[in-house]
């Protein structure tokens, strides 16, 4: 069986700075994968690279199809969907419209038809996504009127409305309080259990460790560990990456 996402030797350079050095990462069908690492380790760069916003070396394949040379919107059409740490909603559109932008792929002809007829028919996918994240009540609200946590959820809803093959979430829990973060975790887990493959980046180790199937750890653009949550949690390199060079002395037995 082919992996949903297969990234091999992904490298990114910014000028002379190496942001990612040959990262290998795979996401299997209905897996929830965590990607963690200290600030500046290259996690967001990795998502930018696979979603086509940053040029990268190496090979990125979605369902075995090589994505090389495809623009971001083409990758999105192929089923690679993502969110941003800074949410990046369309602030000029209501929540429902935010989802509608992503959900439809109109041809010129359909645009013309829509122009002549009444406004667009409701789409089942939007209802489903709203329901999945309990956002039905907010569909006619402008994003600016929502709390940070609610905006994050809308970002996730907009990313899943296309029923993507792979959903990449960049720090969905940043800015949420502990309770909200836990609730988000439960929802992501439920989504994965329904068969959605996901790549989750977050600094909230509690969230990542408690919901992910497997975890990859980056530091200075390199993969330093990967495996099941318990394995990663106990890995000395991971602990020292987080607590600093001298951590070994503290975290020793």
């Amino acid at each position: 069986m082919t992996a949903v996402l297969e990234a091999q030797g992904v490298s990114v350079h910014f000028g002379g700075v190496r942001a990612l050095a040959g990262v290998d990462l795979d996401v299997q069908e209905s897996e929830l994968i965590g990607l963690i690492g200290p600030n500046g380790a290259g996690k967001t760069t990795f998502v930018d690279a696979i979603s086509g916003f940053v040029r990268c070396g190496g090979r990125v394949a979605l369902d075995g199809f090589d994505l090389a040379g495809l623009s971001p919107h083409e990758r999105a059409l192929r089923g690679l969907s993502r969110t941003w740490q800074s949410t990046e909603l369309f602030d000029d559109l209501t929540v429902r419209e935010n989802l509608a932008v992503a959900s439809r792929r109109p041809s010129l002809w359909q645009v013309a038809k829509e122009m002549l007829g009444d406004s667009a028919a409701t789409s089942g996918e939007i209802e489903q996504a709203l329901e999945l994240l309990d956002l039905g009540w907010a569909q006619d609200v402008m994003p600016g009127d929502l709390s940070q946590g609610q905006r994050k959820l809308v970002g996730v809803a907009r990313a899943i409305v296309t029923q993507p093959r792979l959903l990449c979430l960049d720090e969905p829990a940043a800015g949420l309080d502990t309770g909200e973060s836990e609730e988000l975790g439960r929802r992501l887990r439920a989504l994965a259990n329904k068969g959605q493959s996901m790549l989750l980046i977050d600094h909230d180790m509690g969230l990542v460790l408690s919901v992910c199937d497997r975890i990859f750890v980056l530091e200075f653009g390199k993969l330093i560990a990967s495996g099941k949550p318990q394995e990663v949690r106990g890995d000395q390199r991971v602990v020292s990456a987080y607590l600093g060079g001298a951590a070994a002395e503290v975290s020793g037995p």
Binding site: R82, D92, E114
Partner: protein
């Protein structure tokens, strides 16, 4: 060869003028991040100030040169302070569009007030520089050209030194690189902005006074020098004084050489006269070249938060207002006296023109100055098809619209990489080029007199303004044409509202909000922009055909750059994101209902209205950035919006709708 050299040297004069204004543009941009379209207008204001002091035209006192210069300096500084505090400072954190429009407001106010004070006649500016000549390689050249060029080069050196060595210069460089970091370092952004605005005013004003020997003083020439100056400033990436100065001088020399070449037999001619508009075309090409060479993005100011454009509410219940509007206008077109009938037709056409801006600027966030020129191109096609080929309604307007769409898409191709304020500059250059190269040309444009447009006929029926059916007072124009214009306007209003309601509108707004996120949501950003330019140009083309039939002729002056800028001002003040805003814009547009009523009842003529228009625009920008229609809309719909900013509901449950809060 000797001749060529002569013209090169002569070109130093106008080159110095362009270079001086370019230096002021760069100064303002580095000081406050504003591309000041009014830089040329500041030169004009100082020029008029010096002229009236020196000739005693105002106040009756003849000043000697030195005190007149000193007073002019004081006046220029006062103008600088006014501009800073009225137009720039209140908009420090506003959207780039708002900043640009505010400098446009300054331009309109300056121009209108000078028109009111001094009329349209050109004034011979008394010269300050010595009037002798020098011999250079056998050519006799006025020495003031060298002095003027020397002064501007001197200014550029002084500015470069100032920016290199003084604390003020260092601070400005720091703030223009990253304004927030500069504030963290304890630098006052406001004080730096004021300092640079004053410096820019003095530089522009000084050039305006000294340029007497090169150009006459009027209300158009100097303000429009900002276009070649922008070309020079863009080549300097709005950063380097040296390059801006050199490029300005270069453009001046190039223009002078064109003057020389146009006397040659090989130079292309148009009905006996040398091809007009080549200089403007070159300025435009330099702007486009600069954008490609220097990169499309202008240097930013770090992470300072920029505000969004006004919001674009989804229109509800279109039919009732559309039917009511149609009925009222249809009746009014019969019962109103002839002059008000004409003003109403002008308002309808102005509305269509503003609709074109609603699509491109309001929905997609692209600032295009060129839309009015596209209308003009369409109008000239209608005229020439009728006059040269005998093809009339409805084929000619269709061809006109196709012409507008073609030109619009050509602009759009350059807009794919250029956005925001850069696009405004490119399209401003395009406007000036199209008007001078296209419309003034007597073969494919209208020459200086304009080109006639016959009445539109369909199935033997005269649909034009001279149709047999007259209003109640039996005078021209005929209500029939008004009805045609009304039908077109209402249809296009519904069309634009339908765009906003449909998925295309959603995708346009997605592109406007965030191109990156739009691409991630599988929106093809390039196609959406092209489509928006196409639709907007089509609407402009329709407006152009209506213009043509309305006036029975098309001429270049109806579509010039200042009118195009005023159109954006009206559209912004009306509410650039709303269909109803376009209707407001039509009401206040040139020769529309409101200016006509003010003129007729209160004797407030067009120039006064432009002056008020500029002032109101500045006021609107600061008080109601969403425009007049937007302010109305907010007042009407405030209670409808569920919840409000501020309270923080639980993450997964609905907030109880709060009572409408003042926002």
């Amino acid at each position: 060869m000797q001749q060529v050299l002569l013209f090169v040297l002569l070109g130093l004069g106008s080159g110095a003028l362009i270079a001086g204004i370019a230096l002021a543009v760069v100064l303002t941009y580095r000081g406050s991040g504003i591309i000041n379209l009014a830089t040329g207008a500041i030169a004009m204001l100082s020029g008029y100030a010096y002229w009236s002091l020196k000739t005693g035209e105002y106040g009756g006192v003849h000043f000697a040169t030195a005190p007149a210069l000193l007073l002019t300096l004081v006046i220029t500084l006062v103008i600088g302070v006014l501009i800073e505090f009225v137009a720039f400072r209140p908009l420090r954190t506003a959207s780039p569009l708002a900043k640009l429009v505010s400098s446009l407001g300054v331009l309109l106010v300056a121009q209108a007030s000078m028109l009111l004070a001094f009329g349209t006649d050109q004034k011979p500016q008394p010269t300050i520089l010595p009037q002798g000549t020098v011999k250079v390689f056998g050519n006799t050249v006025p020495e003031d050209r060298f002095i003027l060029a020397g002064i501007v080069i001197g200014i550029a050196i002084v500015l470069a030194v100032l920016y290199r060595w003084t604390r003020f210069g260092l601070a400005t460089r720091a703030a223009s690189e990253n304004e927030l970091n500069a504030q963290i370092a304890g630098l006052s952004a406001n004080r730096l902005s004021l300092g640079n605005t004053l410096l820019a005013s003095v530089v522009a004003g000084g050039v305006g006074v000294l340029a007497a020997s090169v150009t006459q003083l009027d209300t158009v020439s100097l303000p429009l020098q900002v276009v070649p100056a922008l070309a020079a400033a863009l080549l300097a990436r709005l950063t380097s004084f040296g390059i801006a100065c050199a490029a300005g001088l270069g453009i001046g020399i190039l223009n002078s050489l064109i003057d020389y070449f146009s006397t040659k037999s090989w130079f292309p001619t148009d009905q006996g006269v040398p091809l007009p508009g080549t200089k403007e075309l070159i300025a435009f090409l330099i702007i486009v070249l600069a954008m490609f060479l220097r990169g499309a993005a202008l240097p930013g100011r770090g992470e300072l938060v920029e505000q969004r454009l006004p919001e674009v509410p989804r229109p509800h219940n279109l039919m009732t207002p559309a039917v009511a509007f149609s009925l009222v206008c249809a009746v009014a077109l019969v019962v109103l006296p002839f002059d008000f009938r004409q003003a109403l037709v002008n308002t309808l056409i102005g509305t269509v023109m503003a609709l074109s801006l609603v699509v491109i600027t309001g929905f997609v966030g692209q600032i295009s100055v060129v839309q009015l020129s596209l209308a003009g191109a369409s109008g000239f096609v209608v005229s020439h098809m009728a006059v040269d080929a005998g093809i009339g309604f409805p084929l000619a307007p269709i061809c006109g619209s196709i012409m507008a769409i073609t030109l619009g898409l050509l602009t759009a191709v350059s807009a794919l990489r250029v956005r925001g304020v850069s696009l405004a500059v490119v399209t401003l250059g395009a406007t000036v080029a199209i008007v001078n190269f296209g419309f003034i040309n007597s073969t494919w444009g209208g020459g200086n007199t304009g080109s006639p447009v016959p009445e539109p006929h369909l199935f033997g029926l005269d649909l034009g303004p001279r149709s047999a059916f007259r209003g109640l007072d039996g005078s021209l124009p005929s209500p029939v044409f008004g009805w045609v214009a009304l039908a077109v306007t209402v249809l296009l209003c519904l069309f634009v509202a339908a765009i906003r309601r449909g998925n295309l509108g959603e995708r346009m707004l997605a592109v406007r909000s965030n191109e990156r996120a739009a691409a991630a949501a599988a929106v093809n950003v390039r196609n959406v922009k092209l489509l928006a330019f196409g639709i907007s140009s089509f609407i402009a083309g329709v407006a152009g055909s209506l213009y043509a039939y309305n006036f029975g002729s098309v001429s270049a002056d109806r579509f010039d750059a200042v009118t195009a800028l005023a159109l954006i001002a009206f559209a912004y003040a009306g509410g650039i994101t709303l269909v109803s805003g376009a209707v407001f814009a039509g009401l206040i547009s040139t020769e529309g209902l409101i200016p006509h009523a003010l003129d007729k009842w209160f004797g407030i003529n067009g120039n006064w209205f432009l002056l008020f228009g500029g002032v109101i625009l500045l006021f609107t920008l600061i008080q109601h950035p969403e425009g007049i229609a937007g302010a109305f809309y907010k007042r009407l719909h405030r209670s409808r919006r569920p919840g409000g900013r501020g309270e923080r509901g639980s993450l997964f449950t609905a907030k109880t709708p709060a009572p409408a809060a003042e926002r």
